[in-house]
């Protein structure tokens, strides 16, 4: 390296030769990002037009929404307050049972799907891919299937939530197990413990709080999902919401929505604190 701070013209020329494209990028290179952006925007505008999101539609929709809001006030259950309350309870019960059953199925599967527990490569691969397949099927599709099998009602909803949640729960659990601290496991192994004892005393105390907190998190999200399942006839408030909105009973829709929001906020509040208690973190 030279000690002088002045740069000679030969050095500038050398740098220009070596990194010419950086110092003075060609027009094509400079315009590529802009062209790509324009292309993406053009496509989005085309989609916008294709789906008919015109100003006229917005004006019509907004004025109708305004009418609905006026009809929503004051929220009024009419003579059906009891039905709506019990449907809200049904939604909560579906979410609770669905998550519970999913967690019970996911518990052993998480260990089977963890590469540091099941060291056999092909077995691990097969279990993970099966979980992937189940992860791809949304709860609403399961609900359609179970409504056909078990008839209308919350039972189909419970089973749908169970089938759509056990796989993601198992996957998250398996990842937690794979990231677990090795030291307790080694400590228990060094005392000559059996395979099952190593899991029980080296792994489970680390993983159980994580799995519990994940299950609680899924419970929170399932309260929201359970509200939707009723639209296909799987119990809870969804059925009333779809029926009443189709028949423009907006005061009743507003009443149910308020019940639902209160339920969601209450569950989130309780579950957040429980999760904090379990994992020992302040939330």
């Amino acid at each position: 390296m030279k000690s002088s701070l002045t740069v000679t013209s030969e050095e500038i020329q050398a740098a220009r030769d070596a990194y010419g494209d950086v110092i003075a990028p060609s027009l094509l290179r400079r315009s590529t990002p802009w062209l790509l952006t324009a292309l993406v925007f053009g496509y989005l505008v085309w989609l916008w037009i294709k789906f008919g999101l015109t100003l006229k539609l917005f004006a019509r929709g907004a004025s109708k929404l305004g009418e609905f809001v006026v009809e929503m006030l004051p929220p009024d259950p009419g003579p059906y307050a009891g039905e709506f309350l019990s449907a809200t309870g049904e939604t909560l019960g579906m979410a609770f049972l669905g998550t519970l059953f999913a967690a019970i199925i996911a518990y052993p599967l998480a260990y089977l799907g963890a590469s540091n527990v099941v060291r056999n490569g092909p077995t691990h691969f097969v279990i993970r891919r099966i979980l992937d397949i189940f992860r791809g099927i949304p709860a609403l599709i399961w609900a359609l299937v179970f409504v056909a099998g078990f008839g209308l009602g919350p039972m189909a909803g419970v089973l749908a939530l169970m089938m759509s949640d056990f796989a993601p729960l198992a996957k998250l659990g398996a990842e937690a197990i794979e990231n677990a601290d090795r030291k307790p496991v080694e400590g228990v192994t060094s005392t000559g413990a059996s395979k099952l004892q190593i899991l029980r005393f080296g792994m489970v105390p680390q993983i159980l709080p994580v799995q519990l907190s994940q299950a609680l998190y899924f419970f929170e999200s399932n309260v929201r999902s359970a509200a939707v399942l009723g639209i296909v006839g799987a119990g809870g408030i969804g059925y009333y919401l779809s029926d009443l909105s189709r028949n423009n009973h907006w005061d009743m829709v507003a009443f149910i929505l308020i019940l639902f929001m209160v339920l969601v906020y209450a569950i989130d509040f309780v579950s957040k604190r429980l999760r904090g208690l379990i994992t020992g973190e302040r939330v």
């Binding site: 989005l44 989609l47 916008w48 294709k50 789906f51 008919g52 999101l53 539609l57 019509r60 929709g61 907004a62 109708k64 929404l65 609905f68 019990s86 309870g89 049904e90 909560l92 019960g93 579906m94 609770f96 049972l97 519970l100 992937d132 397949i133 992860r135 791809g136 099927i137 949304p138 609403l140 599709i141 359609l144 299937v145 179970f146 056909a148 099998g149 078990f150 008839g151 919350p154 039972m155 909803g157 419970v158 929201r224 999902s225 509200a227 939707v228 639209i231 296909v232 119990g235 969804g238 919401l241 779809s242 909105s245 189709r246 423009n248 829709v253 929505l257 929001m261 969601v264 906020y265």
Partner: protein, 305 residues
């Protein structure tokens, strides 16, 4: 001689006895607390369980009695595929082409659902991107405005998109427009929250630098924060696009366009083999998106860190 004996000799027997009994007392209290926590927790859980079983009308008897019905439903929806005729044309009963007889139409609707999701993710993502700066605690321009925007995002996030779609279909009329708007609203809530949390974790020093050189709020965001958050933003948006494609496929169920609408028609007309064919196509699409998006996202974050 044990370690304990060593300690007792070192501290003197009197002091050691006090220390040990204090430990014993504390340990007993801890165990009592834990036992109480366990008993109360189990009790509450059992109560919730019984309540839920009662309310959700769940019974093992119904579970088992439902199985034959379940099987007969499967029988009605599974096509009569014959291995020897599997590759035959649309007109031969038992071929794959016969089962998926309307596949060009279904594929078109599947693409429409995907495009709905793309537009909704772009609209919702754009709104979320703008609102997330206002909602973030550390860079929001005003504390009260931030709190208000955070509550608003929470509200959008809490309402499931299908329920929003129920209302919007009534207001905007049936069709893809209502579906796009419903998903876009939900996306705004979900992405806005995630992004504002990203903002809250960024390095504040570049922002201070821009402010020190005389930049206004807009400049600090554009030159101080943006370079730190853009890779994360695109990664989250892609993840959301993946979720939205599944949502867009379902949202047709309430009349908001896409493949879901075709599914309802098939079910209402008791054409369960059509329904199963459509569901299969949806699942394959979700699966394919899942695989590609994971790869793209990894490349995106990996290329920049």
């Amino acid at each position: 001689m044990s370690v304990l004996d060593d300690l007792v000799t070192a501290a003197g027997p009197e002091k050691a006895r006090v220390a040990i009994s204090a430990f014993d007392l504390e340990h007993a209290a801890y165990k009592r607390r834990w036992r109480m926590f366990f008993v109360i927790g189990t009790g509450l859980f059992a109560l919730c369980f019984i309540g839920a079983v009662f309310i959700a009308d769940f019974s093992l008897a119904r579970l088992f009695s439902g199985f034959p019905q379940m099987l007969s439903f499967l029988d009605r929806s599974l096509p009569d595929l014959a291995l020897s005729k599997l590759a035959d044309s649309t007109t031969t009963e038992g071929s794959l082409a016969y089962w998926f007889y309307a596949w060009p139409k279904w594929l078109g609707l599947l693409w429409e659902s995907t495009e709905m999701a793309i537009l909704a993710t772009a609209l919702g993502g754009g709104a979320a991107f703008l609102l997330s700066f206002v909602a973030a605690r550390n860079i929001g321009p005003n504390r009260w405005v931030s709190a208000f925007v955070r509550r608003m995002l929470e509200f959008f996030r809490t309402l499931p998109d299908l329920i929003v779609a129920l209302v919007l279909v009534q207001a905007f009329g049936p069709g893809a427009a209502a579906g796009v708007l419903a998903i876009a609203l939900h996306t705004t809530g979900a992405l806005g929250k995630l992004m504002s949390e990203v903002h809250e974790n960024i390095d504040m020093k570049p922002l201070e630098g821009v402010r020190a050189s005389g930049g206004n709020w807009f400049h600090t965001i554009r030159f101080g924060a943006m370079p730190q958050i853009l890779p994360n933003f695109f990664s989250y948006a892609l993840l959301r696009l993946e979720i939205n494609i599944a949502a867009a496929a379902a949202i047709g169920y309430v009349g908001a366009g896409g493949i879901g609408q075709e599914l309802v028609i098939a079910i209402e007309n008791l054409r369960f083999d059509d329904a199963l064919a459509i569901i299969t196509m949806v699942i394959v699409l979700i699966f394919a998106i899942d695989l590609t998006s994971e790869r793209i996202r990894h490349r995106f974050i990996g290329a920049r860190t």
